[in-house]
């Protein structure tokens, strides 16, 4: 099967003015990201703050135009200005359940506006369309008459999902969509996403810092660091046989309920994620890598491996 969404060598660079008399600095939010998601699959994108995962989400839904690189949807190249129909096909669910709903609007008005704009149902069918949307996200129909502040975090996030589903999309991009929720609400939303994928054949790009959730929900995983994908593959391969030192550190750093008790003498990784200086021509992970050697500084490491598991590290074993 061919990919539904393909990103080909996407770059997003920002020019940031610095103090007077010094040249502006270029920040590379995304620096050559290539990814492909097949229809009805779920890709997890993991990484720490500043790795570019939110920029990636914005590129996918068209809120940011890449500096360079190509986006293809269903085999066709996507331009800088997207058609109304393409906007409809790719929808986003945001992290903050408070900020992602217009505080002045009732749920009904927000959903109806979108459905109406895309002429998805005849006016007479609006009420039943809204009711079935509520049913889809497991909310009672009276939530339609609520304003966001009357809802709990989990309910708001389900309304946000309903808003995305209102326009009958093919792809859902979820940017840290459960990060702000309590554990029990988080679990119900994760299950809801899994169900929607199974029932509607939705394609999901799930961006998260939480490896456990990605393991639960996704078929494939891309690990990002400083604007690049450092390791990518099926969830099974990446989680059980991680190759990149960063992926391994992430896995080791994640606290695990069922494997505690061992007081570690050193943390999994030193330092903090930070932008990579422009002068660095080698591997983006070099400044923090415990396994770095001279060769890592000279050129970005090529991907080693195959389609089901590739790693950008010279130490990776194919």
């Amino acid at each position: 099967m061919s990919a539904l969404i393909e990103l080909d060598d996407i770059r997003v660079h920002y020019t940031v003015p610095t103090r007077r008399h010094s040249p502006p600095v270029t920040l590379r939010a995304l620096d050559g990201v290539s990814l492909a998601v097949e229809r009805s699959r779920c890709l997890g994108v993991v990484g720490e703050s500043g790795c570019g995962k939110s920029t990636l989400a914005n590129v996918l839904v068209g809120l940011r135009t890449p500096t360079a690189g190509r986006v293809r949807y269903d085999g066709r190249e996507v331009g800088a200005r997207r058609s109304k129909d393409l906007c409809r096909r790719i929808q986003m669910v945001f992290q903050d359940p408070v900020g992602s709903l217009n505080p002045r609007r009732r749920v009904r008005s927000v959903l109806a506006e979108l459905i109406d704009h895309h002429d998805l149902v005849p006016d007479t069918g609006m009420n039943s369309a809204l009711d079935s949307l509520m049913e889809m996200v497991d909310l009672p129909p009276r939530v339609l008459e609520a304003r966001p502040h009357e809802l709990s975090g989990g309910q708001r996030q389900r309304v946000a999902i309903a808003r995305a589903l209102a326009v009958q999309p093919e792809v859902l991009v979820a940017d840290e969509a459960v990060a702000a929720l309590d554990v029990s609400a988080q679990a119900t939303v994760i299950n809801l996403l899994a169900d929607l994928r199974a029932e509607l054949g939705l394609t999901i790009v799930f961006i998260s810092h939480d490896l456990g959730i990605v393991r639960t929900l996704c078929d494939s995983v891309a690990v990002m660091y400083a604007g690049r994908v450092v390791e990518e593959g099926t969830a099974e391969a990446v989680f059980t046989a991680a190759q990149h030192p960063y992926t391994r550190a992430l896995l080791r750093a994640a606290p695990d309920l069922h494997r505690p008790g061992t007081v570690r003498r050193s943390p999994a990784l030193e330092g903090e994620p930070a932008g990579t200086p422009e002068t660095n021509t080698g591997c983006v992970f070099l400044p923090r890598c415990p396994e770095a050697e001279a060769a890592c500084a000279s050129a970005p490491p090529p991907y080693i491996g195959n389609e089901s598991h590739r790693t950008a590290c010279i130490h990776a074993v194919p």
């Binding site: 309910q155 554990v183 679990a187 899994a194 456990g212 639960t216 309920l257 069922h258 505690p260 008790g261």
Partner: protein, 329 residues
Amino acid sequence: MTAIEPVIEIANLTIATAGPGGVTLVDDVSLHVDAGECLGIVGESGSGKSLTLRSVLDLLPSSLVRTRGTMRFRGRRDEESRAVDPRELRGHGVSMIFQEPMSSLNPTMRIGDLIAAGPRARGVSRRDAADRALRLLGEVGVPRPEQRLRAWPHQLSGGLRQRVMIAMALSVEPVLLLCDEPTTALDATVQDQILTLVEHLRAERDMAMILVSHDLSVVSRIADRTAVMYAGRIVEQGPTRALIDDPRHPYTRGLIDSMPQLHGPPVRLKTIEGSPPTAGRLPRGCRFSPRCPLVVDACREADPPLMAIGPYRTTACLRHSAVNAGDQP
């Protein structure tokens, strides 16, 4: 264990909104922490875990009042514990670190002055306080501490700021360290570093600790003993390992089961039905009863008190023996 008194003992703490018809947010919470011990408090937002912690230093928002509760504190090992007012503990025996490392550091003070401020206020000379600040920065793992003393908070990364906050907390040599979601705002690898640091410091200094978190896996890594809070009450308490391996309250069980697992094949998450009650509109009987899979009629009659069910273990569930009796109740 000998009969030494705990470092801190809180009894019957009750916190409500101020004014007539106040809504109770923390209801009759009692807990203690022994010397060198770490108590974890886990709960979802609105469970009252942070309020409980803040009340130790009387840091409640002005709209809330402590309507009931006593506190006993023991400053040194050879001291007898005595009843204390929370305000006397600020900077004297108890320090606190907060979740948000940006807003918790005064942006108009240099790092060195921030750390030296506590000791200075207790009469330490300027020079000694500065020396102590330098030593502490090194101890909390800030690289090149001499240079950082002159830095401003905004020049530091999130992880470094959190280390500075820990150094500030340690500067008054507390016997009890309160941590309110200390790593929630941090990245995974940085969270790991901070937790490792806190583990080290605690072992080195023999400090007692209370760690509040929404994340049971964070608590499980550090806490010796864990209390689970739900809707303003402690519903279960026990040694962390035992509590996780053999939960005796259906809410604890639900929390554990709804956490996604990193290792092993992916499984569908189990969920807890419904959502927590709003403060002031609690259900009759047990607060968890509307969501509980084990509920029986007796649960809806009265809120069950905490009952001792083993060494150091208490639960507020009438059906505690059924919680782990097979997966299907």
